[in-house]
């Protein structure tokens, strides 16, 4: 093309090399640009603008470079002047098709990523839900309780019937509760008592509980299903880590605007090394307290004379509490 315009070979080759290199740089720039900024559906004019701009810059740069290299005016300038529309057209076509291509490519890439993230998130939430369901059901507790009932139907039908009622009330309570709810200590202790009564049928010979509170404490509120896992943990720990009598103590107290609950269980100092930090099973409670109050200091554990002591502080900030006062 350039030859037709009557210029020598050096000029023609240099011109085409320079144009092509600059064109490649432009395409690279466009493609990179798309990588980090993908125009949304209503902003597709952006592609047109950027393609035009880059084409224009490309033309300018090319002319500047040519001018620097040959540093001569008249003849060559004319050539360029004569060919600018063709050059611009070709450059623009290439650059804009490059940007279209990049747009398509990166959009598709992004789509794929979103898709895979979505399935992953769905998978995770499904697993979490299943885990929670299983936790709530407590299969070990449930089947062992049913086994106790099965044993009692032969030896003590009256007691068996009573235990079926307790177990039903407990399960109903589990189903009805949701974690957003706040209940009074009185309600929570009543629910807890059902659980303790069932455990006592199973471990009656070994398990004793002591619950200490004042009438004033009972009006204080706490999130549903917070206390129960702590006590459950204490019972499991106490029963399986020691042999013989196990006394689980639950003490409620009020301190300023806090409801303080202490749960205490015996453990074997020598062998119970495996659990670390706050103890097994308690980390989820720690997490829940953090989500509710954005504080990490509300759950504390310590070991004292062969006892494992869990202390929970519950700030009294719920609306329900204020309306009661």
């Amino acid at each position: 093309m350039l030859r037709q315009l009557d210029i020598d070979q050096t000029h023609a080759i240099t011109d085409s090399v320079v144009s092509n290199i600059l064109l490649a740089v432009s395409c690279f720039f466009i493609s990179n640009n798309m990588k980090y900024y993908l125009p949304r559906r209503e902003k597709y004019w952006y592609i047109l603008v950027i393609s035009l701009t880059v084409s224009f810059l490309w033309m300018l740069a090319q002319q500047a470079v040519m001018w620097i290299i040959f540093n001569e005016g008249d003849n060559y300038a004319e050539v360029i002047h004569a060919s600018w529309s063709i050059r611009f057209g070709a450059g623009f076509l290439l650059i804009s098709s490059m940007s279209m291509f990049s747009l398509l490519w990166y959009s598709q890439q992004e789509q794929k990523e979103i898709e895979s993230r979505k399935t992953e998130a769905e998978q995770l939430s499904k697993e979490a839900e299943l885990f929670k369901l299983r936790q709530q059901l407590q299969p070990h507790f449930l089947f062992n309780s049913l086994n106790s009932i099965s044993a009692l139907t032969g030896s003590n039908p009256e007691k068996a019937r009573h235990m079926i009622q307790q177990l039903s009330d407990f399960l109903r309570g589990t189903l009805r509760r949701n974690e957003q709810q706040w209940n009074t200590l009185e309600e929570e202790l009543k629910y807890l008592q059902l659980y303790l009564d069932i455990e006592k049928v199973r471990f009656g010979h070994r398990l004793q509980t002591e619950i200490i509170f004042t009438d004033e404490n009972l009006r204080f509120k706490l999130p549903a299903l917070l206390l129960q896992p702590v006590v459950e943990n204490a019972i499991k720990f106490g029963l399986y880590d020691t042999i013989g009598q196990v006394i689980i103590k639950i003490i409620a107290a009020t301190e300023n605007d806090y409801l303080k609950i202490i749960v205490q269980n015996p453990f074997d100092v020598e062998t119970s090394q495996p659990f670390q930090g706050t103890g097994f099973g308690l980390s989820s409670i720690q997490r829940r307290l953090f989500l509710l109050f954005a504080r990490n200091d509300l759950l504390q554990t310590k070991k004292e004379n062969g006892h494992f002591i869990t202390t929970i502080l519950i700030p009294q900030i719920s609306d329900g509490n204020k309306s009661k006062k």
Partner: protein, 242 residues
Amino acid sequence: MKVILIDDEPLARGIVKEYLQSYSDVDLLAECSDGFEGIKAIQQFEPDLIFLDIQMPKINGFEMLELIENPPAVIFTTAFDEFAIKAFESNAIDYLLKPFSKERFDKAIQKYLQHANPTSTQQVLETAASSPLQQNRIVVKDGNKIKIIPVNKIHYLEAADDYVKIITADGIFLKKRTMSFFENSLGAYHFVRVHRSYIVNTQLITRIDVYEKDSHLLLLSTGEKLPVSKTGYSKLKEVLGI
């Protein structure tokens, strides 16, 4: 037929006792509420068959069996234990899921009578114990006493013929197991087999020195030194991320 019941819940023992009443040739010799009592009773009475719960205080049913030289035939009774059930399913031995019916119970007894085979107890143990959840501790016999060793108290393990030496701050204990058994079951607890004869608690490593060509020397924070083989070193590098 000499029988012993081992379960920590009295009512659970009660139902087995009740079901056993229809068998005239059964001698119920003992009822135990934990593994320690179980071991004593088994040594004393040498039963033909035991009914054994898995989740029990201090040591579980599997750990109890591990401590008995020649375990008798076992019918496991358990409420819910995914890992244990997996172990049973792959073996001939029977298990009862609580609560179980008299019919199911009878079937288990029939199965035992048809092929009473205590060696399958060993197989169940092998399978069950290799699930990592059972193994955040190792139960060993120390003379007449039973010692429960939490895994993080172990410095390292050393091969010793048919046994494995378990080296802890409280002393050295022996357990009749293979190195590869411990390599598998302790893998989940930051233990690495650094040498044909050594498995080390990686949390205790303070230094790794080049020893000779292709071999290294580990220094533990407890002052002990262990050789590391070439393959052991690459395993170690992988676990420690170096």
